[in-house]
Every structure is written in structure tokens, then in C-alpha cells.
Symmetry: C2
Subunit: 527 residues, 2 copies
């Protein structure tokens, strides 16, 4: 049985409740390594070590945290061959370009951005009111952050290396990673790099810990433990909502990134202008990563006129021609089939695809469905069911009023997209649709599919419930993503020698932005 990482040591799980193996999705064959299902005692030890780490962290400088993230990134690059090989084996994702040239560099880039943020410290939004002598900043939570990683990004969203991990660490919190059970071996290699980097720079043991799997009740303990600071979760809505219930009851913050249908509206002028290009763009976005992206467009909305039908025919041709990608695991085809079944039950028709592929791997035929605007409005909830694969439901509305009426029925999504005519012919429709969509999505796009999620400060990978658990935060984009894992720390009349460096008169880095008496400044106070 493979060891877990607790309290700075790779050790045997204590009284595990079971064991599991990863599966190669391209062959459905189990991989040889066995990983433990951790019981309550591993969780207890992890929280004990994390508590000691929290105490020790009050003596650790932001520079050490920055060095850790940079060293970790370098170790990942040094282990790139092993990581790519293992991740490809466990997820079926293509080694090139996806894993080696796209996801791995993105992962190390996030780490280096997190390091830069930790070092420079503007992320904490220091606010200094000199007259009242009240000073505040965002600081660490005072308890570890538990991260549940999803199956679809073995590096960039990994519980022990991805965006939530980086945000939590850069904000000064220990992390307890709960690996995704789809890629335990990848998580283990990453955790080895993290462990070695933490040791090299002198972070406290317990700063970075890894469990592979827990029974559900132990998972609830992870998010509701008296000393947990917060939880970051990326995954399915059903799992997310059960964890949310446990965390909410305990008064513990939990940031969820769950299902979303990411509606794409293509207005009539845009369709008339560039039908073929849009059909290809839509298909490519649906097929990226075999459709297993949180930002995959699941719902396309057009007018059902001759342009709409012509567009639909072109999209259909793309879906028919496509070779289906390999899915991440056994649950992939199952959950896609379930999702499609719900869509059909609520009035959608399958135009192409709709079946599990029986070719030795986990795969599902690329699937396109259609439904009329009238039918959509009769069952707007059921017809927003996510199918996590290359699946899209096209709604053909009878007129613009119906398009807008449909927008009013949409649930919270991560993204919403509007394609419009480049010469302004759609602007009146946009004016009606835009405000309705704005309220329902985290990121509003124009003329661009939502699948790409740039790691840039203005990004919002978030959105209204039920896409996430809180509309005010993003899971991607540094420094904003750090704010999820912080508490607001105010100092009222606190003596200079008891203030953290970030709030003393002298700017600790000379580059940190602070809101001083209402002005953002990089200067020392009083200069």
C-alpha cells in the first residue's frame, strides 16, 4: 500500500478503511499500485500537524513561502517526464500538447505567480487609516485549507499543486490535499516534489499533507473539523452540495466550483455573418479535453430561422465526423448517459451520438441535441442538466423575445457568451439580453468560446450558485483567488512593534500597494 503524507512524513495510513487502484481509461485496466482509503485517525493526525504548522507559520516569512512555491515549480519541471507519463496513464489525456506543453507549464506558472504575490504582498489589500490609527489586511485563516481536486486537470487543479493549493499556500495557510481518486499516482509524485521543496526551504512539517481518499463521512469531517480554516472543492454538484451542507453546519467557509452549462447565445447577425466559422468554433470548444471542462459550452441558443437551421446543420456535421476522445474514467460514460437521459426526458432530441462507445476504453459518442424554445421554456430546469463530455444542446428559439425569456430562466453559470454581428446589427438585441445574462454568470464573453481560462488578475472563474457556492470569489486569477482563504484582520490602536510588517508605516517591500487614507500607494506612510 502506498504511503500518505502526514506531518512531514511519508507513512503508512493508520487503520485505513480500504484500498483502491487507479485505472487506465484507454484500456480499463487497473494500475498495480494500491492506495489507502484513510479513516478518522489519518485525518486527526493531519489536523494535529496542521495546527502545529499554523502556530509555526507566525515565524515564517512571506519570502520563505515564495521560495517554496518557486522551488516546487522547479521540481515539477525536473519531474516532467514522470508526471506526464503517469498523468497520461491515469487520465487518458494526451501527453502532447495537453499535459506537457499546456497544463504543466500552466501549473508551474500559477506557482510562480503565487510566489510573486506572496513576496510582493499587495494581495492582502492592506488598508491604513492614519487619523483613526486603524489598520487592516487580509491574513491567513488560522487553520488549514482542505483542497478537493477534480478529475479533469491532474496538474493545474490538483489538490496538492493546483490553483486552490497555490492560493491557500500563498496566503499563508497549510494545505491538506484530498487527491482525486482518478489520479492518485500523479498526486503522489506532485506531493513528493512539494514535500521535498517544503523541507528544502524550511517550512513546518504539516504545511503540505496528502490523503488519497476517505469514506464520505470522513470527508464531511475534513470540511467541518473545528480547526479547518476553509475548503476548496472542484467537482460534481452532488458531491459539492453534500460537502457544503457539512461545512455550512459547522460555520466553515467552503468554496465550490461545480457544474455549469455555460450558455452561448449566437445572435442572428453573427450567424448570418459567419455561420461556418461559428459552427467550427462551437464544436472545437465542446470537444476540447473530450468536453470535460467546467467551462465547456453545454447550451447554445440561436433563433430557429433558416440561418439557425443552417448553422445547426453545420454543427451537426462536425459532431458526426468527430472521433470521440477518451474519458477520464468509468464514471464518465455513465454520467454523460445519465445527463443525456435527463435532457431527452425533458423534451430534447438526440441528433447525433447519444451512446456509450464499446471500443475497449471509456468513451462516449460526441452528442448533439436540439430542442425548440417553446419546449425549453416548458422545462428550463431539466434542460440545464450538465453532461460532462462532448455534448451540446442547441435551443432554436422562435424569436428574440423568446431568446430573452429563455435567458431569464437560466441558472447560475461560470460563463455566458454572446456572439454578435461585427457591424452592430445585433446591438438592440444585445441591449435586451446582456443585462439578463450578466446577473447569471461569473464571466461574460463576447465573440469567444468560454473554454479557455487565462490565469490573469481580472479572470473570474466563479459565478452565482449553483455554479459555485458564493458569487463574490474566483478560483482562478492571482491575487484575487487568494482572498478566499483569508480572514480580515483589523488592528485598532495596536502599537507599531505589535503590527505585522504589512501594516507598519514603512512599506515592507517598497512595491506593495496599500490603501492609505483612501489613496492606493506604494510609499511609506507619512511620506
Amino acid at each position: 500500500m502506498e504511503p500518505v503524507l502526514i506531518a512531514g512524513e511519508w507513512r503508512e495510513a493508520e487503520t485505513p478503511t480500504g484500498a483502491f487502484q487507479a485505472v487506465d481509461p484507454t484500456t480499463k485496466a487497473a494500475l498495480p499500485e494500491k492506495y489507502p482509503v484513510s479513516g478518522p485517525s489519518d485525518v486527526r493526525h493531519a489536523f494535529d500537524a496542521a495546527e502545529r504548522a499554523v502556530v509555526a507559520l507566525s515565524e515564517v516569512s512571506p519570502e520563505t513561502i515564495a521560495l517554496f512555491l518557486e522551488d516546487y515549480a522547479s521540481r515539477i519541471e525536473a519531474q516532467a517526464d514522470a508526471l506526464v507519463e503517469r498523468a497520461a496513464r491515469e487520465t487518458g489525456l494526451p501527453p502532447e500538447p495537453r499535459l506537457r506543453s499546456v497544463e504543466l507549464p500552466r501549473t508551474t506558472s500559477q506557482m510562480r505567480q503565487g510566489a510573486a504575490a506572496a513576496r510582493e504582498r499587495s494581495w492582502c489589500r492592506a488598508t491604513i487609516d492614519t487619523k483613526a490609527n486603524i489598520r487592516s489586511m487580509h491574513g491567513p485563516l488560522g487553520g488549514p485549507v482542505v483542497v478537493f481536486g477534480p478529475n479533469n486537470f491532474p496538474f493545474a487543479f490538483n489538490s496538492i499543486a493546483g490553483g486552490d493549493f497555490v492560493a491557500a499556500i500563498a496566503a499563508g495557510n497549510p494545505v491538506i490535499g484530498k487527491a482525486n481518486t482518478g489520479h492518485p499516482g500523479t498526486s503522489r509524485i506532485l506531493a513528493e516534489c512539494a514535500h521535498d521543496a517544503a523541507h528544502a526551504v524550511g517550512l513546518p512539517p504539516g504545511m503540505v499533507q496528502l490523503l488519497y481518499r476517505t469514506p464520505p463521512d470522513v470527508g464531511f469531517t475534513l470540511v467541518s473539523h473545528p480547526s479547518v480554516g476553509a475548503t476548496g472543492f472542484t467537482g460534481s454538484r452532488s458531491a459539492g452540495l453534500r460537502l457544503k451542507e457539512a461545512a455550512d453546519k459547522a460555520g466553515k467557509p467552503i468554496y465550490l466550483e461545480m457544474a455549469a452549462v455555460n450558455p452561448v447565445f449566437i445572435l442572428p447577425g453573427a450567424l448570418a455573418e459567419r455561420t461556418s466559422a461559428l459552427a467550427k468554433e462551437l464544436f472545437d470548444s465542446c470537444a476540447l479535453g473530450a468536453g470535460q471542462f467546467c467551462t465547456k459550452p453545454g447550451l447554445t441558443l440561436v433563433l430557429g430561422d433558416e440561418w439557425g437551421e443552417a448553422f445547426f446543420a453545420e454543427v451537426t456535421a462536425h459532431f458526426e465526423k468527430a472521433k470521440a476522445g477518451t474519458l477520464l474514467g468509468a464514471q464518465g460514460p455513465r454520467s454523460i448517459a445519465e445527463g443525456i437521459e435527463v435532457l431527452v426526458r425533458h423534451g430534447a432530441s438526440i441528433v447525433t451520438g447519444g451512446r456509450v462507445l464499446d471500443d475497449g476504453r471509456y468513451a462516449f459518442a460526441s452528442t448533439l441535441l436540439r430542442v425548440s424554445g417553446d419546449a425549453f421554456l416548458a422545462n428550463p430546469q431539466g434542460l440545464q442538466t450538465e453532461a460532462f463530455g462532448t455534448v451540446n444542446l442547441v435551443v432554436l428559439a422562435k424569436d428574440v423575445a423568446q431568446l430573452v425569456a429563455i435567458a431569464h430562466t437560466l441558472d447560475g453559470s461560470l460563463t455566458g457568451t454572446i456572439y454578435s454581428d461585427t457591424r452592430g446589427a445585433d446591438d438592440l438585441i444585445y441591449a435586451r439580453l446582456g443585462p439578463v445574462l450578466r446577473r447569471r454568470v461569473g464571466r461574460l464573453l463576447n465573440d469567444k468560446m468560454p473554454t479557455g481560462v487565462a490565469v490573469t488578475p481580472a479572470m473570474n472563474h466563479g459565478g452565482p450558485y449553483p455554479a459555485t457556492g458564493h458569487p463574490g470569489f474566483t478560483a482562478v486569477g492571482i491575487p484575487a483567488s487568494l482572498l478566499r482563504f483569508t480572514a480580515l484582520h483589523c488592528y485598532d490602536n495596536v502599537r507599531p512593534n505589535h503590527l505585522p510588517a504589512e501594516l507598519r508605516d514603512r512599506n515592507p517591500t517598497g512595491k506593495m500597494w496599500r490603501l492609505q487614507d483612501g489613496e492606493w500607494s506604494q510609499k511609506d506612510v507619512g511620506v
Copy 2:
């Protein structure tokens, strides 16, 4: 029966489930006016009107919102006599200086600060990444904010005029106020001012609505309604946690400001240096507003040596001498008695006070309790029970290690205070205690009692659960308090004519601070 304010009209409650009257706490006599207990149909009408207001708001400028808040503030000043008279009658709080010279100006000042924030717009933290052409800002929630006001600040935290109201409106959201049932008449006069101001500047009807009371199940509907944006609640822990459960289940944000014991540590050097001054300071802070402040110190921690005992004797003398203030209502003496009963049951001894006063008004004797550090550590939960009045529990610890051990057992509080020797004699103790307390409180103070809550940008009137529901937000302090009532709105590749003014290249006010390519700036983009 007094009318409710729904959809821009003062109208009779529709099928109310009952009626209630305010009570003069100085005489226990009911006031003549009858107010309705609103049933589901009033709530439905209010949400319908709020939904229309949300749609109409996309055409309303921040300038109009600013003018509304300023006009409202002026109308409050014009109605000061009526407001002070009514509030004094309903709450028993002294007209002077408390209501007229302190709380009313604070209330109008918050409104004008909110107006300035709405006009200037830095509050929305616009972030512009020119290379990726991704732009984001905090924007309104897309649904009304429901505000539950507490009993203890009839103006400054009133559901229809106080800090939560101002924050929600300034961020561009309609408000449905649920008046505190202790001061319905005061709320009504305020709502009349608000209604007139909204009409005068042309805000949509449904921007400001007022209900007086609801049965509990209808209250749960208010916080969990499909179209509610978020809730702001200030009040008791039991009511807050029940509303939280309903809101959490529906995935709706709720910001709670509940009970807190606000521990005050007085280190031995400070005691030796200024015993008498500290004893008076502590008593005055406990007695302010008859002890009915969320930031009232409920727990004082000192060493039980001769200095500690001398301090305790002086504090006792202050409590013994004091004339008890009038409490806000019938539940005041009852809940204080209950709180004290819990403290005594867990080992505290009453040194003075401890009884309901029978002098024709709602009052409870100023009460001081004591407990040893050993006894505290045996029952740290029970001994952190809040008694919302002039009540303080002094813990006399046997040594510094025990003082620190006690700090480790403290629940989340709004504030935590450390008094230390002015020449540094306590610095070694502070170094041990400070980090432990930091994790447990929102605002850490030195050498100053926590009762005052300045309305200043760096203020944090918040803290870890169970003092509030989320450690990252403040209920007081503009502009930060606005962020509770916002969603993060990202615009990816959105055409300039579809961007909100705050995110276009041109700075809309010339004064708005925006984070442009990592630099905070007031300039136009590209300049």
C-alpha cells in the same frame, strides 16, 4: 393597522397573520400603534417589486444612487426631533447624547460616505488586464438584499437606514428591510424619509421596501427566496443560525453579525501601572448603552495575583455603585438572567448584581462575576456565554501559561483586546498571546476598549464564526462593507460599447482607483 412599504407605496398588509405593538421599556406600557405581521403574500409582492427594480437599475446611474443617499440623510436630519422622540420611546435609549448627538449623526454620516463611494466607484475594485483584454469588477447581486436590523441601534443599524442598508444600496441593490420589532415606529419614520428621497431622485419603486415583522417560516422565505441576492442580519445567535441554515440550503449568501464575548486581556505590567484607570475604563465600556453593544467586553482576563485582586476589587466597586440602565425590551432582563444562569452553572460566581430590577422598567442590576483560570479551562464553552447587558466575567488565571491556554479555548469574537505595560515589560507575554488571539477575532485592539466602532475604511466589524458567518467581511467601514453585497463580474473580450463605464478605457470619474495591469491607477487605460 400601520401600512407596510411595498412597490413604492404605503399600503395595507395583505392577509397579515397578526399584529403587534411597540412597548416603552421605561414603563412597560404598550404604545398605541398597531403593526402588521406580514404573511407570504406581502413577501411575494415585495420580491416581485424588487425584481422589477433590479431590471430598472441597469438604467440608473451611480450618481442617482449617491443623490438618493444624500437626500435621505438630509430628510433624516429634518425629521430629527420626531425620530429621536420615537426612538427614545421605543428603545429607552437616552435622547441626549446617545440618540441625537451620537447615533443620528453617525447614521447620516454613513449615508454620505456611501454616497461618496457610489459616486467615486473605487469600491468596485475594477481590474483591467489590457493584454488579455479581460476586465472585472464587483457589481450588484442581481437580486434584492434583505436586511434584518437589531434592537440596539434604532438608527445606525436600522434595516432601512443603517450600515447594511447603505452598503447594499451603494452597491446598487434594492433593499427589503425587515424592521426590528422593538422599534417599528422609528423604522416607519425612516422608511418615509427613504421613500420620499427615492421618489424625489427617481429611483425605481421597489428599491426600498419595509416589512415590520413576519412569522418565522416567512422569515426563512425572505433569506432563501429564489430571487434574493443576499441577506444582512444583526442580532442574536439563535435567530441568526436558524436564518443561516435556511439561506445556506438555498445557496444564498447571508452575512451575520451575532453574539461575541470580546475578550479583554490585561497583562500584569499594565495592571501594575494603571489599575484604577483600567478598572474605570472596563466598567464604562461594559455600561455603555446599558451593555447592549455587540462589542461590549464580556470577558476580562488577568492574573489572579495581588494586582489582579486589587483590580478586581476596584472593578467591583464600580459595578456596585452603578445605576443600571434601562434595557431595550422585555427580552433584555430575561436573556441576561439566562446568560448569567449558564455562567454560574459552569462555575462562575456572582460578586455583585445578578438580579432583575423591579422598578417599573426593563432593567437588570449591573453584574460582575468571577471565575478561576482552572475553572474556566474546565468549561470554556459554557463560560463564553454572552449576557447582553452590563455584565462581565473576570477570569483570574494562575499564571501566564494559563492565560495563554485560556486564549487557545476562545471562540471567534468580533474583537479581542490586549492591555500591556507602556514601557514594554509585558512584551514577552504579548508575543505568546498575540498570535493566539489574532486567529480568534476580527479586530485586535491595544490599550483601548472595543465598544467604539469607527466608520472608517480600515474598520473590521466582523470576525470568525460564530461571531459572524464568514471571516473575510466587515459590516462597518466603507467601502469594504459594500463587497458583501456584490458579485464578481468579469468581462472577457467584451466590446467597448458593451462594457460598463467602470471598465472602459476612460476612467469614468477621473478619481476612481483601478488595478490596471497590476498597478493601482486613477488614469485612463493607455495613458
